[in-house]
Symmetry: C2
Subunit: 353 residues, 2 copies
DNA sequence: GCCTCGATTGACACCGGTGTCGGACGGGAT
DNA sequence: ATCCCGTCCGACACCGGTGTCAATCGAGGC
């Protein structure tokens, strides 16, 4: 074999589609310099329209697409976006990924995933290494890592683009997507109050999660609309897990004056409440109404199907990646927040009597 | 600002950690050519040990890590591996991702995800574009795309490394990981037969999925061990969805001689069976035993908690990425298959009488 | 008709690695 | 001492793009 495949000879391979076109091919065929082709790729304004069109025609003819690696090398950053998450709920993760991909479609960016552990002592350096290793363009953070100020500070320091998804605005608007969890809580509270419940219990997520406070705050707002309040003894701290829902419900249902309805901070815990109710011999919704949060698949698989608050996770993901890409020059309009909505199923009803 | 930051002047930035070391820095400091540093990075054998050690010392001192983009540009491939899937079950996807990441840890590779639609007419070109866009090193395919021969042929044609995860060996050993679904089915069949069930029903996944046939075949094997057979009218075709489980169970339970136990092809459908049983006024497990497959979270959230077959998805994922990386020169031993196991919970019991 | 100036375009170096090939060096055979 | 050969290493081009800066060009002002 000759030392190197001679360059001028492989035009045949190009024509036959056996070789991908490079910027050099396009430049040679269009009769311009590669820098000018580069200008077309990067939408440089200082280009005569006829030059641009001539080059675009050649690009289209050969189906040329610039090599992200070479481009990235010159730009000193890659065309990759990272999803950094510590939420253990599979459906949340998958919906978020789908949403992010929705917003990235056709942009030439790819999504790389990075689960992490918020509690790890090496959280910040780990994430930093992840970003610097592949020189990520930017990252999307979801709760609860998104609430970590140490991580955010590091991102600003190394100049990595980022968007934080959280239940409240934790950063300036260009860096945050808010999920309006408070509104979701309000819908739950209003729903239960309208059904006539006076004694409403709440099982929160971990108090280190902003969403726990938002969902509770919303619930209280919804109850307040009907002149009700959330009694302190009707509140249990959970951990967004099935088991913690079970325990929280056991505690609330063991109260001398047990609540007639329980709002669980998410569907997983609501499923735990259903199990606890069954063990306590209570039927849902006759003896106890239950409301969840998320509207993940589990909500319609348990018995009875859960009344729950739907959080538009996939939509949120799409907004997040669009916001991130708008920092890359892709012009996406900055859209309005998406509000959660209530999905009424069979786990809620008016209290007895 | 001067036209370009002068090169020799920024050693201070290097020392201060404000600039990442490049191969040029290491070469200059170690007093060798960059090609020799490259030889160290790539474990070239023709290097005097003392030279290697000298360079390795400098690399360690400055925490140098080669730039994957530059390396990829020269190698004509990236250090990314893709996960291509069309399985809609979130927990499967997440577990698979976690497993893949387990096997990739410390390798310098990253995981990029690509959901797809097996039914799409542009499936093959879409996947091809995904691979060529970022010049992926390799991909992992999971059911049911992993069973598509058109996709596999394309991968071979473009020379992309790949591993296919499937319930049976669909390719040569170096390209496939088998999940031994038949064994899982056998465990379910054996379990039900041992409990004394004679009339066992089966709700399969789509017949276009290999796993549907494997799980059924295994069930029949397990029953056969006890002299039982699976009657044709006791088999319903489902679609691995909750709704199809509901429908399949409605059909089987409407039979004049209804089965006393149902093995559903996955947990989602088993949840559907539970709902159908409740609507039919049957209690589980007293009137009807139910077995699922997967052991995803839902299995322990429904009532009663499902007896099911656990498939070691995360472990499978780890094996898949290790197999893929072994083709990249990372020496991972080729490990044994992981077998599914039975998790007995409360949805199965001996039949009445 | 000549000069000035902004708009276009190209030449060249560079991003940070790897492939090719040849040169320097040292030991054993002649 | 000379020759041969294998080992080890470096010079240089190249991967496919972008940044910098200078050159070219046509139009408008004198």
């Amino acid at each position: 074999m000759s030392p190197r495949t001679p360059k001028p000879a492989d035009d045949a391979a190009l024509e036959g589609g056996r070789r991908r076109a490079t910027i050099n091919d396009i430049a040679r065929i269009a009769g311009v310099s590669k820098k000018t082709v580069s200008r077309v790729i990067n939408r440089s304004p200082s280009l005569r329209p006829e030059t641009r069109e001539k080059i675009e025609a050649v690009i289209a003819k050969y189906g040329y697409a610039p090599d992200p690696q070479a481009r990235g090398l010159a730009f000193r950053r890659s065309f990759l976006i990272g999803l950094i998450y510590d939420n253990p709920n599979p459906q949340y993760v998958v919906n978020m990924q789908l949403g992010l991909l929705d917003g990235m479609r056709g942009s030439g960016f790819e999504l790389v995933v990075h689960p992490c552990d918020r509690g790890s002592t090496t959280l910040v350096p780990d994430i930093r290494a992840f970003i610097e290793r592949q020189k990520l363009f930017g990252v999307v953070l979801t709760p609860s890592v998104s609430e970590d100020e140490g991580v955010a500070a590091m991102l600003r320091e190394i100049g990595c683009e980022y968007v934080r998804v959280a239940s409240v605005a934790v950063d300036e608007a260009s860096h945050s997507i808010v999920t309006q969890d408070r509104h979701g809580g309000l819908l739950a509270g209003r729903h239960l109050a309208e059904l006539g419940h006076k004694a409403v219990g709440f099982i929160s997520g971990p108090l280190t999660f902003r969403s726990s406070h938002e969902r509770r705050g919303g619930l209280e707002e919804g109850l307040a609309e009907h002149g009700l309040t959330l009694a302190a003894e009707y509140v249990a701290e959970g951990a967004y897990t099935f088991e913690s829902g079970l325990e929280g419900a056991a505690k609330l249902l063991g109260l001398p004056n047990r609540p007639t309805a329980i709002f669980a901070g998410n569907d997983e815990m609501a499923a735990g409440v259903l199990h606890a109710a069954r063990r306590a011999g209570l039927s849902v919704p006759e003896d106890l109404s239950v409301v969840g949060f998320d509207d993940f698949q589990i909500a319609s698989r348990v018995w009875p199907p859960l009344t729950t608050v739907r959080s538009p996770t996939r939509e949120i993901g799409r907004l997040a990646s669009e916001k991130l890409l708008s920092q890359a020059g892709e012009d996406k309009r900055d859209p309005a927040d998406r509000l959660p909505s209530l999905v009424a199923r069979e786990s809620t009803a008016a209290p007895r009597g």
